[in-house]
């Protein structure tokens, strides 16, 4: 009988002692994920000779990308806290170019513009120009409205009046990526 009592007592103690201590399950409430995503955007490479067409030097070339839906996405609108667009131009042409990117909303209203110069190469050696545009606060709000971008590459006039022709050497290349910072409250 004594034995039985002892075992029951032991079981009772064990049950009473069992508990969940020193934990705070509310912590999970203020929890957020902060991934940083990187994505390729544009890239191109253009030969100097391509800027000569119909016996004339092209002053500028232009292209556009429409139907960009990613920034209209509610998830992006809610959670994107900062964005950087990183460009790198590599120029082996003896002329300076300007690269301009204009961002438009659905109603074709200009929301944001960025531009930088890709410096000329005097020796034919590559000249690398890096440029980063940071989108925060107002500019980030503007970015979240865009559905279209227009890219313009403009050729500055040469200092000596010379123009590019079909025999001109060198090329200009462009690389770009976007770095997107998210803060996702879970």
């Amino acid at each position: 009988m004594l034995k039985r009592k002892a075992i029951y007592t032991l079981l009772a103690i064990m049950t009473l002692m069992s508990c969940v201590k020193d934990v705070d399950f509310d912590q999970a409430e203020n929890f957020s994920l902060t991934p940083v995503l990187a994505s390729s955007i544009l890239f191109t490479e253009v030969e100097a000779s391509s800027f000569f067409e119909n016996d004339m030097e092209l002053e500028s070339v232009r292209d556009s990308v429409a139907n960009i839906e990613i920034f209209e996405d509610q998830f992006v609108k809610d959670n994107l806290i900062k964005a950087e667009l990183v460009f790198q131009a590599t120029n082996t042409i003896d002329r300076t170019f300007n690269l301009q990117v204009d961002f438009f909303n659905d109603a074709d209203e200009l929301q944001h513009t960025l531009s930088f110069d890709a410096i000329e190469s005097n020796s034919g050696n590559p000249v690398v120009t890096d440029y980063t545009e940071v989108f925060e606060d107002d500019s980030l709000d503007a970015l979240k409205l865009i559905t279209k971008m227009v890219i313009t590459l403009t050729l500055y006039p040469s200092s000596d009046g010379s123009t590019l022709n079909e025999n001109s050497s060198g090329n200009i290349s462009l690389k770009s990526k976007g770095i997107f910072y998210f803060n996702i409250d879970v």
Binding site: K21, V36, A38, F43, T44, V46, D63, N67
Partner: protein
């Protein structure tokens, strides 16, 4: 209705107690009739037993191979996000979280045989089992946590998504057959009726961001993912808010209305000497064929994206960036398009292996006549048990050493020490009491952790009530 609620409450309570699916305490504890479910060659020493409906066997177990709730929720002033991060990175993709619950709907059994000595035992019943395992989707978690920007060249392995879950009712009948004085064999046939099944265990593919040839970065997607479900579509789509209707549907499925399957348990018991015995069994060698109410989702494709090129149609090859972009957008849309189909499929039940070596000693002395009482036999038993279960990624093992004692006729205890995926010091204790025909038992493991369950990586609890007649015949 009251039974249902009671059963529901019991499941919740047992879930709250948070061992493993391993029933190291029940295995070989032959005073408890449900021990015959582990090895069908177990000859129960009674004439008849009837389990109290819904309460003859309730088992619940929760486990996490690499972490405890304490690791994450400790009230230690550390930032939750950093704790989660260190956990995500510490665990690997073979770590898992599992839940298993079983309860008897009804059960019974009786001894029979030719002649006076009834040397065979037939047992039957029906139980409902819920089983779920989710492997740590490590690479997905790292991607969600950090993103790809600082993980250039890291190959995110999409096979890290591996999970399965099911609710199944099992109707079973088993019997033993004595081959000779030493060897007894047994088999149990099972009909499975699947209530729900979800599994995503055959995923492959990768996502990687590398330095590009023509651009800063190059993203390569290689996707081959699928999820198969049965028994979920109709309930998800019926749009009714009347939960009792769903309950009716579920009840029908439990009684052969769902997707059906067949299985078998086989086992042997070898009594080498009066004191030494071996036993082994295979449980749930069986399958379920999913044909009704099925829906599979697949995501398959390969794509490499380096950026939008070319630009400037005047100087390029005539294609505009816009056209190029539209093409890319289409490609991405195709890549991430989820195809759904009603494909029949077969799932195998998690096969379990049990083995044991048992040694009995210490004959009970009868104080009054100072003679050995043959009926009572040995009062102590020690032994070693092995358990293995086949899981989607790889089998899990557990090794147990135990001590069993008949404290007195109506009170028997078993203490176990188990080493498994969850712990190297899992101590369990089981008690089976008999008052008249009433057999009440409680088995619990991971007792060392009961002081603070939050620190336990696993815990299990089993309890039940049977009416047993003709014990110790």
């Amino acid at each position: 209705m009251r039974y249902k609620r009671l059963a529901f409450v019991l499941i919740i309570i047992t879930f709250g107690f948070v061992g493993a699916q391993n029933k190291q305490l029940l295995f070989g504890f032959n005073d408890i009739p449900q021990s015959a479910l582990i090895n069908p060659s177990t000859t129960l020493k009674n004439d008849l037993f009837v389990g109290l409906p819904l309460l003859s066997h309730v088992h619940a177990t929760v486990g996490s191979s690499g972490a405890s709730a304490y690791d994450l929720f400790a009230d230690d002033g550390r930032d939750f996000s950093s704790k989660l991060q260190s956990l995500i990175f510490r665990l690997d993709s073979n770590d898992f979280f599992m839940f298993n619950q079983q309860f008897d709907i009804f059960s019974g059994g009786f001894s029979y045989g030719k002649g006076i000595e009834k040397d065979r035992y037939l047992s039957f019943g029906m139980y409902l089992e819920t089983d779920a395992i989710v492997y740590h989707p490590k690479d997905y978690a790292v991607l969600a946590y950090q993103g790809n920007a600082d993980n250039i060249d890291r190959i995110f392995d999409l096979s890290d998504l591996n999970a399965s879950g099911e609710v199944v009712s099992v109707l079973h009948i088993g019997t033993t057959k004595k081959i000779n004085n030493k060897l007894t064999i047994g088999a149990r046939g099972k009909i499975y009726s699947s209530v729900f099944n979800v599994n995503s265990t055959k995923n492959s593919g990768s996502f990687v961001t590398r330095e590009g040839q023509n651009n800063f970065l190059e993203h390569t997607f290689n996707l081959d993912l699928s999820v198969r479900t049965s028994g979920i579509k109709s309930l998800a789509e019926d749009n009714n808010t009347d939960f009792s209707k769903d309950i009716k549907t579920i009840r029908k499925r439990m009684l052969f209305g769902g997707n059906l399957g067949l299985g078998i348990d086989v086992g042997f018991t070898y009594q080498a000497t009066d004191q030494l015995m071996f036993e082994g069994s295979l449980q749930d060698f069986g399958f379920i064929r999913h044909k009704k109410d099925i829906e599979s989702y697949t995501l398959k494709g390969n794509y490499t994206f380096e950026g939008i090129n070319p630009l400037f149609p005047e100087v390029g090859n005539g294609q505009t960036a816009e056209e190029y972009w539209d093409e890319i957008a289409d490609n991405f849309e195709d890549l991430f398009e989820v195809d759904s189909a009603a494909n029949k499929y077969t799932t195998w039940r998690p096969l379990k292996l049990n083995g044991a070596l048992r040694y009995a000693f210490g004959k009970k002395q009868n104080k009054d006549c100072d003679c050995l009482n043959d009926d009572v036999g040995y009062i102590n038993e020690v032994g070693a048990q092995l358990y293995a279960v086949n899981r989607p990624k790889r089998p899990q093992f557990a090794l147990t050493a135990y001590y069993y004692r008949r404290v007195f006729n109506g009170f028997r205890v078993k203490a176990t020490y188990t080493v498994d995926s969850f712990s190297y010091k899992n101590i369990g204790l089981g008690v089976s009491t008999h008052f008249g025909p009433v057999n009440l038992y409680v088995l619990a493991d991971n007792l060392l952790e009961y002081q603070n369950l939050a620190k336990a990586q696993s815990a299990s609890l089993q309890l039940g009530l049977n009416f047993v007649f003709g014990r110790n015949k």
